[in-house]
Symmetry: C2
Subunit: 310 residues, 2 copies
């Protein structure tokens, strides 16, 4: 019995779906199916009822689920306990608005529970500024969106800064254009019937990706707003499209339905200074890995054809 099998099991149990679980744990569905089958074989019971497409826990699955959570929690605690220098002081984390909303809460609260004496400071900002601040030592680490090759060529100094940092892909987001309710579905930016694109600050990578995509229709102005709620509200007026990760859209249960158009997967990178990992950062890193893919709010609605490509 392998801890990774158990994490896969937890993901499937949370999402009731192997496809979504596969996304959550960064694997391919066939692999998830196989690992679950192996686990069932190993334990000698079936953990899920497969009625149709739904994967629901069996009676035994339920009881195993409880143990699975305890096991992973204990394993995480063990890792933390052997840390030779106990984390202390302050951890200064930088993050995009979107990551803060969707992916971090679980990890932050878990970390806070484990190390109540560490004070966590969270700085929100655009990818560009965040990485600069990590490099400058103002932040210990930051979550930023991986810029495309093209974007880095346009901004060589951003590229240079990133090269001086350690980068680690940690989440994958499906970046979408949010269309007003009733807008006909689109194949490209040329099909848009709106006047502007609502996005966050100029340094925001998602904004840049959307602007590059929108260039093809040329007539799109960018409206700068301060939050994803503001963007969605703006979209609701009917004359704007917004840009955001699907995970963010999904967790704000918006009253009116909206349409989306996927711009493809965008990796979220955790960046930190090379050769300069305070113990408190390492502790945070482990909590992050352990809580990744455990948040059932985040399961959802990826286009079938979506896969990560660099």
């Amino acid at each position: 019995m392998d801890l990774s099998s158990i994490e896969i099991f937890i993901a499937v149990a949370n999402d009731r779906s192997v496809t979504k679980a596969a996304k959550a744990v960064g694997r391919v569905p066939s692999n998830v199916t196989t690992r679950i089958q192996q686990l069932e074989e190993d334990l000698g019971v079936s953990l899920f009822c497969r009625d149709g497409k739904k994967m629901t826990l069996t009676r035994e699955g339920e009881t195993f689920f409880a143990y699975a959570n305890r096991l992973t929690a204990l394993a995480l605690e063990a890792r933390q306990a052997v840390r030779p220098i106990a984390p202390s002081g302050t951890l200064r984390v930088g993050t995009m608005e979107s990551t803060a909303a969707s992916r971090l809460p679980a990890a932050l609260s878990q970390f806070n529970q484990m190390w109540p004496d560490v004070s966590l400071s969270l700085t929100l900002g655009a990818s560009r500024d965040l990485s600069r601040n990590v490099l400058a030592g103002v932040l210990d680490c930051a979550f930023i969106a991986r810029p495309s090759k093209a974007m880095l060529e346009e901004e060589p100094d951003f590229d240079a800064e990133l090269k001086m940092l350690e980068m680690e892909p940690i989440f994958v987001e499906d970046l979408v254009i949010v269309l007003p309710c009733g807008h006909p579905s689109i194949k490209s930016a040329a099909d848009l019937h709106v006047g502007s694109l609502a996005a966050l600050e100029p340094g925001c990578t998602y904004r840049k990706i959307a602007e590059n995509w929108a260039r093809k229709s040329s007539a799109l102005q960018t409206t700068e707003l301060g939050s994803y709620h503001a963007i969605l509200a703006s979209v609701a007026t009917g004359n704007t499209v917004g840009v955001m990760p699907r995970s963010v859209l999904n967790l704000m249960h918006w009253p009116t339905s909206v349409q989306t158009h996927s711009l493809g997967p965008v990796e979220t990178l955790l960046v930190y200074r090379k050769n300069d990992c305070p113990s408190v950062f390492n502790a945070f890193h482990e909590v992050l890995i352990a809580t990744r893919g455990r948040d059932s709010r985040l399961s959802a609605n990826w286009p079938a054809s979506l896969s990560v490509q660099s």
Copy 2:
């Protein structure tokens, strides 16, 4: 992090030796070394101080050891908890004297703790009788010594009975001849300066192996005794050699030192009826697997050249 790595770690921690731990978990030392190194790398700390040949736990190793035990205990509990039909009633276990003494106590008490309502009945006997009783349904399972090819050819009906049972190698014993203190060391049975071989009943496989080995010196009578203590006492008189697994010899800290001569490895088989595994047996089987290699009393003294060969 893999549960098997943790079991390996526990074995090394108990035995303070990778060689002994390797025996205990049924692996090769190089493999144990590697797995420990991987574990240390994964956790980012060293778990053992290697001062010379001794492996002693570091400070972090100690704290991880505590978690390791909790983790394996929890994993075992999880396996048991998902058992669809709870074990109940009686489990009738047959065993050789030697296995009962050395390898079973840990498993039996663990099982008894987990399933206090199951009543365990233990029947001691020789391999030959035990397997017959399993086949007859008088016992649910039994621990017997694997007879050599030659022995099975001499007793075709024993062979036939075993073929009707499920057999699973579960321990490996180093079978030794115990020489009186002061007896010169021997290379073969011809070097013996004693009059008789002390052993248990005729159906005992170890006795047969020793008798086959002793044939070369031809002049050896077999004295039948009722227990390993009786055998050792008899050896102490000076005119007898005994036969027993080294594990048994090691755990009766005998006042006077004795010499030993290895007859090679002998596997202990767990036998049970095919297609007839009551839930209570499956539960016992899992406990057995989980507790195997956890008993530090059993580490010891294998000849360097010893390896299992069929």
